[in-house]
């Protein structure tokens, strides 16, 4: 067993252990407080835990399948997220070809470019080529009503669901001296820190939450949950330094950046939901709403994490 495989094995063991404990706690809580399935908070907790099992297993399978597995998994996530996002936009008939291009050209091309590992093109393909091409396709139809709103929505959808999301598998393209063949662990680090931060904010908030942090955006988020969640996720991130190319302190700082971006990303995505008058982005994941509801914080932290790591550590 190589060092990478050994670390991965430990990590998987740890994650499954945590999920096992979570499932047990959920089971006991349900037996004690909600034997007839009437306590909504506990039912929601349990369906969340079950969904995490599914996510952990899917990611584990993708990791075993290697680079192509990870790319396919995230391409699928981008597709489902884009489908949820575009559903809530103001698009009109005249946007049909622009949208078709987003789904069936831009999305596959972006993931193909990641496969080629050519940073010079995959990092600018969407912001340069797609962003200029899409309004051109839309304008051909000659429908000017809400034109600025419509093209902005499609661009923002691509930015969030495809461009930002694709920066998770983009971590595989980095060449970090002394870290060869271990990049998949960077994805694990990012995903674990972001998801734990979400969970811990939820738990801290449920236990000690008093002061609402953003009552207009997300009434369930509290200052106590935010501080407790970010601090504990940062500590856990620092404790995971051994799977990263970072020192413990560097890993802690990275985890702090990731959790902060994730938190504010969640607020931004909540604001969009409020604007569109919906509670969840969709219904793909039982207990979590849509895929974007789970992905929002990863999406905001991935590009920053990618570029910080690339700037300071990559060769």
């Amino acid at each position: 067993m190589s060092a990478t495989q050994y670390d991965m094995f430990l990590l998987v063991l740890g994650i499954f252990g945590v999920l096992l404990v979570a499932s047990l706690v959920g089971y006991v809580l349900q037996r004690r407080l909600s034997p007839d399935g009437s306590n909504a908070a506990i039912e929601n907790l349990n369906s969340r835990i079950n969904a995490w099992w599914v996510m952990a297993i899917l990611i584990a399978i993708a990791f075993v399948a290697g680079r192509i597995g990870v790319l396919i998994l995230f391409a699928f996530c981008s597709f489902a997220a884009l489908r949820e996002f575009v559903t809530l936009t103001n698009t009109r008939r005249a946007d049909h070809w622009a949208l078709a291009t987003a789904f069936f050209v831009v999305l596959p091309v972006q993931y193909f470019l990641l496969w080629t590992e050519d940073y010079g093109i995959f990092s600018i393909f969407i912001p340069v080529y797609a962003f200029l091409l899409m309004p051109i396709i839309a304008v051909m139809r000659g429908d000017t009503q809400h034109f600025l709103i419509r093209i902005s929505e499609v661009q923002w959808a691509l930015m969030i669901c495809v461009f930002c999301a694709s920066h998770v598998p983009a971590l595989l393209t980095l060449h970090i001296p002394g870290y060869e063949g271990r990049n998949v662990l960077l994805i694990a680090f990012l995903v674990i820190v972001v998801q734990l931060s979400d969970v811990l904010q939820y738990v801290w908030g449920k236990l000690f939450g008093r002061t609402k942090i953003a009552p207009n955006l997300s009434p369930s988020k509290t200052v106590e949950g935010f501080v407790g969640g970010v601090a504990s996720a940062t500590l856990i991130g620092a404790g995971l330094w051994w799977i990263t190319p970072f020192t413990p302190i560097q890993a802690g700082v990275m985890a702090l950046v990731i959790t902060l971006m994730g938190f504010f990303g969640g607020l931004v995505m909540s604001a969009i939901k409020r604007d569109r008058g919906v509670k969840d982005w969709g219904h793909l994941i039982e207990g979590h709403g849509g895929l974007i509801d789970r992905l929002d914080s990863v999406v905001f932290s991935a590009p920053i994490f990618f570029h910080l790591t690339r700037y300071w550590w990559a060769a």
Binding site: R83, T87, N90, R92, R93, A100, H146, R276
Partner: protein, 214 residues
């Protein structure tokens, strides 16, 4: 062999419909529809009946037959294979002058054989800006012929945005199918009153659209 291909085609259609629309049903609080019902729905896309067909549990799906225009489905070998073999449609002649069989009698017969029906009371695809066109009288005549069958209003949301008129590439968007309370023709209820009641029951299911601006 033909039946096998039809079965396979049906699975492909199901998979495709789910991949593009991630369609989800919202059932009425009275639960899943009983076995023999007429689902009457808004009609804005050729895929409408496919979505209803997709969300019905397999047990109900096997017994449901869409009511569709013979002129549309019998125009080529492929479409008639899809219409007849894959979806087992009740094909009616919409043009009065070319009618050989009475459409209501054909639908009543299908119900007598134990099937449920998917029916579009607007009579044609809605390509206007109105949410719902006025109903033709078909639903009333069907309710008169089969007063003991549940009529279930079904609202299909968003599919018109997936594939607007004249486009052939579908845009993946999330669609929902909402089932309303089953209704029947009241004794002595006049045609206009019934049609109006059914129209209102269907329209009441339309969601306040979160997206789309047409």
């Amino acid at each position: 062999m033909r039946a096998l291909i039809a079965k396979f085609a049906a699975e492909v259609v199901l998979l495709f419909a789910r991949a593009v629309t991630a369609v989800r049903a919202t059932w009425h609080e009275s639960g899943l529809p009983r076995r023999r019902s007429v689902y009457f729905a808004n009609h804005s896309s050729h895929g409408d009946f496919v979505l209803i067909w997709t969300v019905l549990p397999p047990r109900l799906r096997r017994r449901v037959r869409p009511v569709a225009g013979a002129d549309y489905w019998l125009r080529s070998k492929l479409t008639s294979f899809i219409g007849r073999d894959v979806f087992n449609a009740v094909l009616i002649q919409r043009d009065r002058d070319e009618r050989k069989d009475d459409p209501v009698a054909m639908m009543a017969q299908a119900l007598d054989e134990g099937s449920s029906l998917i029916f579009f009371p607007e009579g044609t695809r809605n390509q206007t800006d109105a949410q719902l066109l006025p109903f033709k009288s078909g639903l009333f005549h069907l309710a008169t012929a089969k007063p003991d069958v549940d009529l279930v209003p079904v609202w299909i949301a968003n599919l018109n945005r997936v594939m607007p008129k004249g486009e052939f590439v579908p845009i993946p968007l999330i669609c929902t199918v909402t089932f309303g309370a089953p209704m029947r023709l009241a004794s002595g209820e006049a045609k206009e009153a019934f049609i109006e009641r059914a129209h209102a029951a269907l329209l009441a299911l339309s969601p306040k659209q979160a997206g789309g601006s047409e």
